[in-house]
Amino acid sequence: MAPPPATTARAVVNALPRATASPQCTRFTRLLSTARIAQAKRPSAPRPSSFQSPPCQPLVQRRFKFKTVEEAKSRYRSGPFSWKAGLLFVITAAGLVWYFESEKERMRRKRIAESTKGVGKPKVGGPFELIDQYGNKVSDQDLKGRYSLVYFGFTHCPDICPEELDKMARMFDLVEAQRPGALTPVFVTCDPARDGPKELKEYLVEFHPKFVGLTGTYEQIKAMCKAYRVYFSTPSDVKPGQDYLVDHSIYFYLMDPEGDFVEALGRQHSPEQGAKVILDHMKDWKGVLKTS
């Protein structure tokens, strides 16, 4: 009289842990031991101990993994996922996303900075020797070791320059708050005939006391504008006392501590955006950066 198939299956399942625990284990070790004997005939390097005799874990032990029946049940209901695993997954994913995004941004900035340094590209900036608003000589060497933000303009400028200089002052303050002394704000006049040190001093002090105003002879300024690829047009044949306006480029030139051009900031940048661009480039700078 054979029992119905369902009950036989259950009987087998119930019997399995206890029945297989010891016989299977002994059979297994015997099998290994014969292999060991066979191998022992040839000289060979000693095997790692874990291979020689795998510890025979009695399957019964698994039954005590959970303290209560409820615990075991809940474990089976939720599967291998727990809130800990989920949290770990989310944190790892967030971390990876953040890392890739920041790396991408860094590479983009690096590309901008590098693209202006390459061979065969027009070099912006270069050596110069001008005088500041206090009458002191200032050369490109004095600007090295710090980032500098160079702006070209003139004191008789009707609208753009004063606005941009106010923006520059704000940008400088924002950068200064985080990296004191790491940035030199420089204003170069395109109108050397009328903007001497005295005029520059009176003009710039209304924007920011730390602005460095540069002027020089017409030839020096012309060379400076050429080096920075700045377009400017001081009208020729100006009679003494005649008023005129100067047409010029209105970009801020961000220069790195070695005097290389990094990026141009324009009218489209708000002071906060501009300051962020500058601070991000400073973060990327690997060399020495002077402070205060």
Binding site: H156, E163, Y244, L245, R267
Partner: protein, 124 residues
Amino acid sequence: MGLLPGFLSTAPKSEAEKRADEVRTGAVAPTRAERARCWAARDAFYACLDAHGIVDTLNSEGRAAAARACPAEGAAFERDCAAQWVTYFKKWRVQDIQKKARLKELEAQGATRMDVQTDFTPRR
């Protein structure tokens, strides 16, 4: 007073008047306060021109129309700004209005707007 310029202009001028004269002729660069005054006068002049639908004040008819419609604003504009700036701002007005009209036209054709600024209000 204005009818006897030759007689009255010989009278000694005050410091403020002398300074204003220097700013007008472009002998000195205006200070921040002087710039602000000029810009305010300019904006008032522009507002008056806008109200009367006048764009170009550099050609003869535009100048006549502006003199008829906004005499006070025009005079204040020329008093508070350097002569060069007056010309510059008048030109700028024409160009800016043309630019805005062109941008509107392009946008109507489905062009994508770029982030550029065409007015004088500084960004904060």
